[in-house]
């Protein structure tokens, strides 16, 4: 398991995650398809926010379980707290430094049919 640093674009949101990237996921739910994100799932204990929490805005909807974060300055989505497994985060891998997704299996998850 390696540690990767990540950031939004403007630098107001910085974080690091510990993962060995067993897989990456996409999702077709109403918000993920708009974010068009490629994500890695990490336990909350494997994500450390290194910057001011107030730099993040939160958006919630429907069951209001998931928490979708974005940078208040540049609007980047860095990660979200997941709905089915709320102790896990989905992380936008394009925020990570020195990360190459090639060779890692991508699983398309079906978020749209979820009630």
């Amino acid at each position: 398991v390696s540690t990767y640093r990540g950031s939004c674009h403007c630098g107001a949101v910085r974080f690091e995650i510990d993962t060995d990237f067993p897989e990456l996921t996409t999702c077709d739910c109403s918000i993920c398809r708009r974010k068009n994100a490629l994500m890695v799932k990490v336990h909350e204990s494997a994500l450390r926010l290194l910057s001011d929490p107030d730099a993040l805005a939160t958006y919630q909807f429907h069951t209001r379980t998931a928490r979708h974060f974005f940078c208040r300055t540049c609007g980047i989505y860095p990660f979200h707290r997941k709905r089915v497994t709320p102790d896990f985060f989905g992380v936008n891998v394009f925020c990570l430094e020195g990360f190459d997704p090639s060779g890692i299996p991508v699983r398309a998850t079906a978020g749209a049919p979820m009630p």
């Binding site: 109403s30 918000i31 398809r33 490629l38 989505y77």
Partner: protein, 142 residues
């Protein structure tokens, strides 16, 4: 671009408001505060690998500014510009969805780039995605 202030009202067609033909495709942010209407759904979109676009995950569909209608309540949009501040990237202040970008310089005022991810999945299923190497060469890779 016509930006109508006030609460977006989908029953207000372009024809009623501006004498144009009704829009055939519209892109909305997740919470519905921002709606962008265009006369034709995009057939080609651009995926760019620059430091900003790759994080946004945006698929840009380019339109003549006069053919795009952006409806958002007052204060519903936030924007971000960086480096030479050539473009302003807009998002919904509430749900954070990236909606469009526009040029801040006079030479670019005729273009609006709409984030095609906010169209319905039936639109995206039809589009060709072209890949722009915005990170290095500024050339299309395909």
């Amino acid at each position: 671009v016509s930006r109508r202030r006030g609460v977006a009202d989908p029953t207000h067609s372009s024809a009623a408001a501006g004498g144009e033909t009704p829009a055939s495709a519209s892109a909305t942010c997740h919470c519905g505060a921002v709606r962008i209407s265009v006369r034709r759904a995009p057939s080609t979109v651009t995926s760019c690998n620059c430091s900003l676009c790759r994080r946004y995950g945006a698929l840009w569909a380019y339109y003549a500014a006069k053919s795009v209608r952006i409806e958002a309540p007052r204060g519903a949009l936030s924007s971000y510009s960086w480096r030479h501040r050539v473009r302003a990237y807009y998002r919904c202040r509430t749900c954070g969805c990236i909606t469009h970008y526009q040029y801040r310089k006079a030479w670019g005022r005729n273009t609006v780039a709409v984030n095609a991810c906010n169209f319905g999945p039936e639109v995206l299923a039809q589009v060709r995605v072209r890949h722009l190497d915005g990170a290095a060469t500024w050339k299309y890779l395909d």
